[in-house]
Subunit: 171 residues, 2 copies
């Protein structure tokens, strides 16, 4: 029996953990989205794009790099960036010394919008996630999840929390 | 200082755990999607819809109930269901005894497609997630995640693993 035709060895318990993982993700992102829309009229996917740009060197990324970094859906990313540009939150910019195409840059208006929205977003993470676990449990969760990340996606950057924390400060 | 104007109390460590959670989700779903597209030409969001229908009573759901149950993006769900209907994987069906509108039902073709794709999907969950943790670690991860779910989303159903496992069996 070859590997490709053998039955998967996933148990019901293992599948249940995967499903809880998906369900927690759906639940948390929907509540965070609801809060951002209600208080700042800003979809979570837009917040995600603005954060990735704000934390990038010179606050700019090529679309391919932006697509690699966004943590929510990549589908519709081009249209989303078009909408953010129409609102003045990002700009397209060509780079004279680099023929590899256009950058998307976050504007001062975009940074201001992000700074306004950050307290709502961080409050939501605290309320919906971190408050529900004590420090040891949170460390354990981070360690177990990090193991999945380190092995499945070794090239992924590890965070850049300082920059995002800075966004929570009043401008 | 009122609650609404005080700074969020989220620490860098807490934010890092949230970001690892998002990054693991992005990494795992992208790899699972890639496998399903490559081996079955079936997007992960389509797989998600077919599973929710297959596990529902009488294998049918109203669109509003389907939107509540899907674990990936709800945006574009109507168009996605339109595409699945065009492929013959689902059908629209009205219910004579219930004036509250149309149901979406998974067809025999849709069930067959799901049974074909399930081994690929379950193999991916095993390879990218559960294999990387031992039984105790997996239990701990499930318990910590489940705590987030139970408190943040008390109405959420707890799983229905048996039905999905059944899909892994050859038809």
């Amino acid at each position: 029996v070859s590997k490709t035709t053998s039955r998967p060895t996933l148990t019901a318990r293992e599948l249940a953990v995967w499903r809880v993982f998906l369900r927690v993700h759906a639940s948390l992102t929907r509540r965070l989205e609801q809060d951002l829309l209600l208080e700042h009229d800003l979809p979570l996917a837009s917040y995600d794009v603005l954060v990735q740009l704000a934390e990038a060197p010179q606050r700019r990324l090529r679309m391919t790099d932006l697509a690699d970094r966004v943590l929510l859906s990549r589908s519709g990313l081009t249209r989303l960036v078009d909408r953010l540009a129409a609102e003045g939150l990002v700009e397209r910019e060509s780079c004279a010394s680099d023929a590899r195409g256009m950058f998307t840059v976050i504007t001062e208006t975009g940074l201001g919008r992000l700074r306004q929205a950050a307290p709502t977003h961080l409050r939501g993470i605290e309320e919906y996630m971190t408050r529900r676990l004590d420090a040891t449990e949170l460390d354990t969760l981070g360690e177990l999840l990090g193991r999945l990340l380190a092995e499945s996606d070794p090239g992924a950057p590890e965070g850049g929390c300082g920059a995002a924390e800075g966004l929570a400060e009043p401008a």
